[in-house]
Amino acid sequence: MTESITTQKYKAFSVIRIWTLAANTVTQLLRMRILAFLTVFSLIAIAAGFSFPTMSPEQQLKLLKDVSFGSLQIFSIVIAIAATSILIPKDLEDRTLYTILSKPVPRYEYLIGKLLGVLLLIGGGLLIMDLILSAVIWIKQSLIITGQIAALKQEQSATPENVAAIKMIIGKYGLTWGVHAGVFAVFLKASVIAALSLLISSFASSTLFTIVVAFAFTIIGHGQQLLRDWFLHDTLSSGFGKIISGLVVIICPDLKLFDVVDKVITGEIISAVTLASMGGMATLYIVGYTATAYLFFVDKEL
């Protein structure tokens, strides 16, 4: 053996490899035009911001947030499920997995890289949507405040106290840190759903199956609490139903944990503790789902 051919050292865990896979996933999804959703979202936010002039100012701001957060959630969940479900079957079908896994790439790195790519994409998308939403809320809020101050001036009652009161009331319903916290909560929820979809696609044999099951779990996940209560406290029914509901309680994420949008809309403060505990729960779910996905994927025949 001549020395011109070098022997490389193998590392069991490489951040560079994971990052390479994640970055590639992001470009792959971007070139599928998956962020066209962003344009649709901006239009909805703008429409919601400027189309209900007859309501009271607080109502207008509430409605703007309500509609925008609703579409934010739907888009992030759709992207989380659709993007994640497509990735692995596509690599299998195109046989790109052969060349990737014939390099010294452990299968867990492949899974982590793919998931990280989806999360980066959703995170980036939500960041842009957060900026758009903030801008729309801020403009709306400024317009309302200017309008009300002008009205006060006409009534000759624009005292500094009155002006400050208006700014405070409208400000509470306007752009607050709560808006960003709300977007963060949406991101956490979408991340958990993406990890769940990855788990399903690691053993499912078709993309359609993955998408349908992931949507079903997402819907059940929003009512998981009810199911859990029923499972824990209902002593009448037994047997099969109990087993099924037990399984679902274990597998299905409790997505209500991440619903803080109501608070955001009414201008309530979301504490750092709440955010941290949501982050912690999301991390637990993501790690759990990814680890289980690996158990299925490691023995998969390509």
Binding site: T7, T27, T96, L302
Partner: protein, 294 residues
């Protein structure tokens, strides 16, 4: 690690059996049946056999892409199920396909990074591989628009990106034009010179004959013949004479000599050697496939 693996063994396949369960009925399909062979370091090993005899399946098991039902395969003494066994390996699958959104250059960088290469080392290596496989002119085009032969070339480039000590090539010349496949042949010989080990399959036996030291012939998942190429193909008792500008008189004399010399020697054939179709193709075509069509 089993003790009987000598340090010079690059690939060992021991009693390998692969059974696929197909369809809803889980009907068993035996793709590989109790297959054993060894490839020594520095050797070019050709695996040939009819369609569906299990060549590709064997290669995939060697690379840990498919699990063996029974038996084991190892690369440089490491079980194929360990990821570390793929550290110094390059693989070109049959009909390779890549991320269509990447260009050839981006593809090579992607695979290079998966091999933990980076910076100028990776950059230089990628350019060298593009030149080597004749893809420089198309390096910035999306792989999605590549022709079959071009995909094969980028597949080879990606297999070579980390200067592997073992190269596993599944039909490397399928769909590649004659100039391109001649270049692949030269490349295999050059890599062998540099000490690499190569396992290759092909249906073009002429090419196998040109590059391989050892050949294994498979049929129905089993090895039916195996050995050194010379031993397998040489016809021990024949000699070929090829002359240029020989006059009819000289040929008569030679005939006479043969007849006079010895009772045992018989003239089997004497005539003009034919050019091969490959040679003819090479002489009469000018497009080489690594340039834009003119």
């Amino acid at each position: 690690m089993t003790p009987d693996i000598s340090p010079t063994t690059a690939v060992s396949v021991e009693n390998l059996t692969k059974i696929f369960k197909i369809g809803m009925t889980k009907k068993a399909l035996v793709a590989v049946r109790d297959l054993s062979f060894k490839v020594n370091q520095g050797e070019v090993y050709g695996l040939i056999g009819p369609n569906g005899c299990g060549k590709s399946t064997t290669m995939k098991i060697m690379l840990g892409l498919v699990k063996a039902t029974q038996g084991r395969t190892a690369i440089f003494g490491r079980n194929s199920e360990e990821v570390a066994s793929r550290n110094n390996v390059g693989f070109l699958p049959e009909n390779p396909y890549f991320y269509k959104h990447l260009s050839a250059r981006e593809t090579l960088h992607f695979y290079g990074k998966l091999c933990n290469m980076k910076g100028s080392e990776l950059h230089d290596r990628a350019e060298a591989m593009l030149t080597l496989t004749g893809l420089t002119h198309a390096a910035d085009r999306r792989v999605g628009g590549y022709s079959k032969g071009m995909l094969q070339r980028i597949g080879l480039a990606q297999a070579l990106i980390n200067e592997p000590r073992l190269l596993i090539l599944d039909e490397p010349t399928a769909g590649v034009d004659p100039v391109g496949s001649r270049r692949i042949r030269d490349l295999i010989l050059e890599l062998k010179q540099r000490g690499a080990t190569i396992v290759v399959t092909s249906h073009l036996l002429e090419q196998i004959q040109e590059v391989c030291d050892h050949v294994g012939i498979m049929s129905n998942g089993q090895m039916v013949k195996e050995g050194k190429l010379e031993d397998l193909i040489s016809v021990g008792n024949q000699t070929e004479i090829i002359l240029e500008d020989a006059s009819p008189e000289l040929l008569e004399q030679i005939r006479g000599l043969i007849n006079k010399n010895d009772q045992q020697t018989k003239l089997v054939s004497l005539g003009k050697p034919r050019t091969t179709l490959e040679k003819l193709f090479l002489e009469s075509t000018t497009q080489t496939g690594d340039q834009e069509p003119s």
